[in-house]
């Protein structure tokens, strides 16, 4: 499975750590399948951001595909 890598910076910082976000491979999983996806996350605590366009776009397609597997 491929997910689009984020191309633009996000306006968010980690509220708890006050740290800026960094891009890196984060594992996401569904119904027993796991994929590394390039995602923004807090460089200190690791809190991961899933942006709206990813959640409602490619992610839904992949979910449907895995549900029909």
């Amino acid at each position: 499975m491929s997910m689009p890598s984020p191309t633009t910076a996000v306006p968010w910082i980690c509220s708890r750590c006050g740290a800026p976000l960094t891009l890196g491979k984060i594992e996401i999983a569904y119904l027993g399948s796991a994929f590394p996806v390039e995602l923004w996350h807090c460089r200190d605590c690791g809190l991961v951001l899933i942006p709206e366009d990813l959640a409602l776009g490619r992610m839904v397609e992949v979910e449907k595909m895995l549900e029909d597997k």
Binding site: P11, I13, R16, I28, I50, E52, M59, E63, D68
Partner: protein, 769 residues
Amino acid sequence: MDQKELRELESQCIQEHAPPCTAACPLHVDVRGVLAALVDESFDAARQILVKRLPFPGIIGRICEQPCRGVCNRKDAGEALEIAALERACATFGALASPTRRIPARGKRVAVIGGGLSGAMTALQLTRKAHSVTLFEATERLGGVLWSTPEELLPREVLVAELELALRDVDVRLQHPVAAMDLKTLRTEYDAIYLGVGRSAAGDFDALLVKVDPVTLATPEAGIFAGGRAIAETSSFIGSLGSGHRAAISIDRYLQKASLTASRENEGAYATRLFTSLEGVTPAPAAIPANPALGYTRTEAVAEARRCIQCECMECVKVCSYLQHFGSYPKQYLRQIYNNLSIVMGERHFNILINSCSLCGLCGEVCPEGLNMAPVCRDARQLMVAQKRMPPSAHDFALRDMAFSNSPLAALARQAPGAQRCDYVFFPGCQLDASAPEHVVQVYDHLRKTLPNVGLLLRCCGAPADWAGRHDLFEESIAGFRADYVALGGGTVILACSTCYQMFKTHLPDVPVISLWEIFDAHGLPEHPSLPTPLALAIHDPCTTRYERDVQDSARSVLHTLGCEIEELPFNRERTECCSYGGLMWLANRTLAETVVRRRIAEHPADYVTYCAMCRDFFADQGKPALHLLDLFYERDLPTRATRPSPRFSQRHDNRAWLKRSLLANIWEETMSEAHVAAIPLHLSEIAATRIDRRLILEEDIRKVIGYVESTGNCFRNPDNGHFLAYYKPANVTYWVEYSSAEDGYTIHNAYSHRMEIVVQPKAQEASV
């Protein structure tokens, strides 16, 4: 569904059965296909389709007895198609197909005795199957009785040319009579013999011809077959061709040592089971050729072919947007569903087909054979659940909605205040509770004034679980009802929702039920304001009342008593349509569901009235003014009420909870014993609320996210506008909320969700914020 059940179901779908013309033709000419090609003005293609079955179109097109015309459905809408004349046009204007590559000879030799139509047909078919054929004809020419037709009807050059062309690969021996006594010798030289000797020479072969098997055309003598006019009860040209064709099949099987008798049903002419409606077909007479002797011109042939209605059934597909949506018809769908359920590894492309059906049963009602896809899809869903193959997203939301209705926040069972038993139990149903809770209060007041000992039961009937294939949850729901019902002391259950009515009648046959509309009809209507006159409303019967004539009648009777002018929809009563709530179609396939609703609301210009809360809400949401029957009793501003949008999902929950709290407080003077958590106030703009509702995110989900942030501090912050963005996964779905702090709670800017899980969780802080 096992193979046997699949085949039984498939056999009920007649869409693939032959049209009457093809079935009535001993050769099963694909008349429909030929005429479709003519409509496209493709005479070459038409001829190619034709000669696959009918090798002598120029001859037969002039003299065929046309059993096809007698059964042509067009005869009831003008006149039967001029099929033979069109075949002749194919022969006249269509190019000959280039000869197909010959299969290597198989080394078997067949003698055909008699060069009439049946012998010529047998010889041709056997050469096509790569057998070496010798044809013995007693006279100096091929054609037999064809020579007794008038020459102006069948020009001799057509007769000679077409037979010669067809038999170019046959060793034809003219002026070579064969007598019965010659057969023994012939039999030693040839592997099989066909006797197509015609009536005049039949006497000589009587010993063989009196005992010909009508199915295989085998004579008592092994390897010798007979057909044509010598054995026909009624003789016809097309019948002779038919027996030649049949004999060729038998001889080929004989030579291959295959069964002569297996699978020969419907080989000759038969009556098809295909049903074709003539609804909407404008009667039209046959095209008449300007010059009858020449037959149709190209233009005339195309005009005549255009009258073909291309017989097919599709009765269910015509009336069902779901069956249309997937581009095929039940026979194919059954196979797809069966295969989908049988897949071990690989993608299950047809999950969406199984989950999109509204289970309304209209297909079964309109099907000439009664094939109903609803039980097929419902059983398939149960099997998918049992196989653990049901997509988790398919029905989750509705099942959680049902769980809410049956939770202590919304469910309630009480005897009437001061009563020791229940003669009646009012069961309004979770969606009426959700859509119009104030009407539930008013109806319950009315019922207690009208009838003795009316208890109240607020909960869900379990339909969402039944539709989702969740037998476990359905049983649990039914058991919950039973426990409450027993505790109340029984009584007749008064149902305001037709889905509940259907569930009760099907799954709780021992519980006496009656619809609220029958109660109104029998015991008097609630007090109500006088209605504006005239008030014409088109009545929509909920699909779950399809076979509940009494319920439908009582709803009409109530409307009549109120002074309404009732307009009937074209699809009503047992042919009514689903609003897309049924079977959870609205959740499993939202695009299709919107198509279904739009189709239904376009059927009549009048405002609709119905007696199901979901139907009303779905119609209104797509812009159709629609009233619930109860609106006529309890609402004064009907035009406004009719355009009222469906309460949002969060509101539906709140309405159920409000209903319980309010009834408990006002009727039983109880406060809710269940701890009622003070909700964090949320502020949503209309746009945000609508968007979030479309995404099936409830305010209670949003509160959980904020509650999680309040306890962990895990969230993002936008330094520019001070918004927060956070996620939380209470069960299977991860909810994201963008919000900001307000004076008395939170302003919600956006929310979205996904099902994929973030595997890595943030490092915990030493002390939570």
